[in-house]
């Protein structure tokens, strides 16, 4: 029995994702440990992404404050702008927007880099030199993303709140002390942790999908282009869909944690 393409494609994609993820996990504890590669990827993923995260987070926080005011003023609840901005950022916007930005910036470059290595036989060369490409190429990249994306999320939280603060205090003339007080009043560590956990999970998605799309590249320069696009599109979709279910799971855990 053959499934229609609309069903088969996504099922095959998900299957391939778990296959690659499984191989990454299998190879992770095996020596030799390539710390230099990991360090290089940490810099590429993390440090090099700081400027774009600063910029996007700042404006996300700013627009969030503006829009919250529009909505909350209708209920005479302007006092809650700080809470709304802080919680929205920490729980949702910082990890999701950060994840999407990193999918575009890092997932694409991983897809292109590994894809080019595939079509120029560099991946065959690795295998020939008794080096598993999953071990050598994917393990450091995936872990660099899992480690660095939560850090970037944290940075986004702080900068986003600063953006919200600027808009609220400078443009909307909110009381700075009340605003800051209000920002942290309804937030606890568990909220912060949920955002970071999402970041780590999205990092895993971007890493595995970006590497896998590159790895499965066929057919020259055009193939590399296709893989790059696929890496970004697939990772972005995966982030947005999994975010819903992840939120569901985390909400379900909340009573146990904060109990």
């Amino acid at each position: 029995m053959t499934l229609p393409a609309v069903v088969e494609r996504p099922v095959a994609e998900v299957g391939r994702f778990f296959e690659v993820l499984w191989r990454v996990l299998l190879w992770t504890p095996r020596p030799p440990y390539d710390w230099r590669q990991l360090a290089r990827q940490l810099v590429r993923v993390g440090v090099d992404s700081v400027p774009v995260i600063l910029l996007t987070a700042l404006f996300t926080g700013a627009v969030l404050a503006l829009q919250s005011y529009t909505v909350l003023a209708r209920f005479n609840a302007e006092g809650f702008i700080g809470s709304l901005v802080a919680l929205s950022l920490v729980l949702e916007l910082s990890p999701v927007i950060g994840g999407l930005i990193i999918a575009g910036r890092v997932g694409s470059s991983m897809g292109a880099e590994i894809g080019t290595m595939r079509v120029t036989e560099q991946i065959d060369a690795l295998e020939v030199m008794a080096t598993d490409p999953v071990h050598y190429l994917m393990v450091p990249r995936v872990w660099a993303l899992v480690i660095m994306l939560p850090m970037l999320v944290l940075l986004g939280d702080v900068v986003g709140m600063a953006g919200g603060y600027l808009v609220a205090v400078v443009l909307l003339e909110a009381n700075p002390v009340v605003y800051i007080d209000n920002s942290f009043q309804y937030m606890d560590l568990w909220d912060l942790f949920q955002g970071l956990a999402k970041g780590a999970f999205f990092g895993l998605l971007v890493g595995v999908i970006g590497c896998q799309k590159g790895f499965d590249t066929r057919g020259g320069a055009e193939g590399v282009g296709r893989s790059t696009t696929r890496a970004v599109v697939a990772a972005s979709i995966a982030i947005l869909i999994s975010d819903f279910f992840l939120t569901k799971v985390l909400n379900w855990l909340t009573p146990w944690v904060t109990g």
């Binding site: 120029t120 065959d124 295998e127 020939v128 080096t131």
Partner: protein, 269 residues
């Protein structure tokens, strides 16, 4: 050229391809291919573009698994090896790729030393020494600090050789080592291959469509046609074979059985 003074070592083939079949979709690439390479021997397989030479070579090292048939290396059937065992098993091979396949994020020296750093316990100084030695063998001493992008095609190819031999493999595989190189560089590359195979007694399997080069470096030459080795003989003998396919290939004629449209149509069935 075969060398009669060379001691004949004969304890079974180093590489044995037995009845290999491989198809990609409807396209039959290998159709019952048999080939043996003996210890210390240099076998060159020639054949037109798209006849499956690269596919054959990738079977030898387990990059591609056959649909049917066996690949036996040093008496070990590759199909009997698990993924990790196969990875380890590959240490006895060195393979030089068509365009070099150098890691473009690394310097020449890092490329050549890659297998040594990953697979051996050699110290940094020992690795550097061996890398320089290998670069000297391919006449590229002193280029270790360059990036692959700074090199010409022929130089990249030779760095690929240096990388393939660095960990002193017992079996060397060359994928179109001279294709697209000028005659002088081709002669140099052939000389390097001869040095490696005759000088070091390494077993070698080369695929090419460069006839002159094939006759220079081979102990035996084989013709791959429609998924099988249809002729296999020492160079001098090979030249005199009256197989029309061999003669067409050697003399580079456009007309003949290799390009017969009926034959080509038949190949696609």
């Amino acid at each position: 050229m075969s060398d009669p003074s060379r001691p004949a070592v004969d304890d079974g083939p180093v590489v044995a391809l037995e009845g290999l079949h491989k198809s990609f979709g409807d396209l039959v690439v290998l159709d019952g291919l048999d080939l043996e390479v003996r210890q210390g021997e240099s076998v060159v397989v020639i054949g037109g573009s798209g006849t499956g030479k690269s596919v054959m070579l990738k079977h030898v090292i387990g990059l591609i698994r056959p649909d049917a048939g066996r690949v036996v290396v040093n008496g070990v059937d590759l199909a009997s090896l698990g993924h990790r065992e196969l990875t380890t098993f590959r240490r006895r091979f060195g393979m030089a790729f068509q365009e070099g396949a150098l890691f473009d994020s690394m310097t020449v020296a890092e490329n050549v030393g890659f297998a040594l750093r990953r697979l051996t316990d050699l110290s940094g100084a020992q690795v550097r020494e061996r890398v320089e030695e290998c670069l000297r063998m391919v006449r590229l001493e002193g280029t270790g600090g360059k990036m692959p992008a700074e090199l010409s095609g022929g130089m990249r190819r030779r760095v690929g050789f240096a990388r393939a031999i660095a960990h002193e493999p017992a079996i060397l595989l060359f994928d179109e080592p001279t294709t697209g190189l000028d005659p002088v560089i081709t002669a140099l590359v052939d000389e390097v291959i001869l040095e490696l195979t005759e000088g070091l007694g390494t077993t070698a399997l080369t695929i090419t469509h460069d006839m002159e080069s094939a006759f220079r470096i081979a102990d035996r030459v084989g013709l791959l046609y429609r998924g099988r080795i249809v002729a296999l003989a020492p160079p001098e003998e090979f030249r005199r074979l009256d197989d029309p396919r061999v003669q067409q290939f050697i003399h580079g004629r456009a007309e003949g059985p290799l390009t017969d449209p009926r034959e080509l149509a038949g190949a696609e069935v």
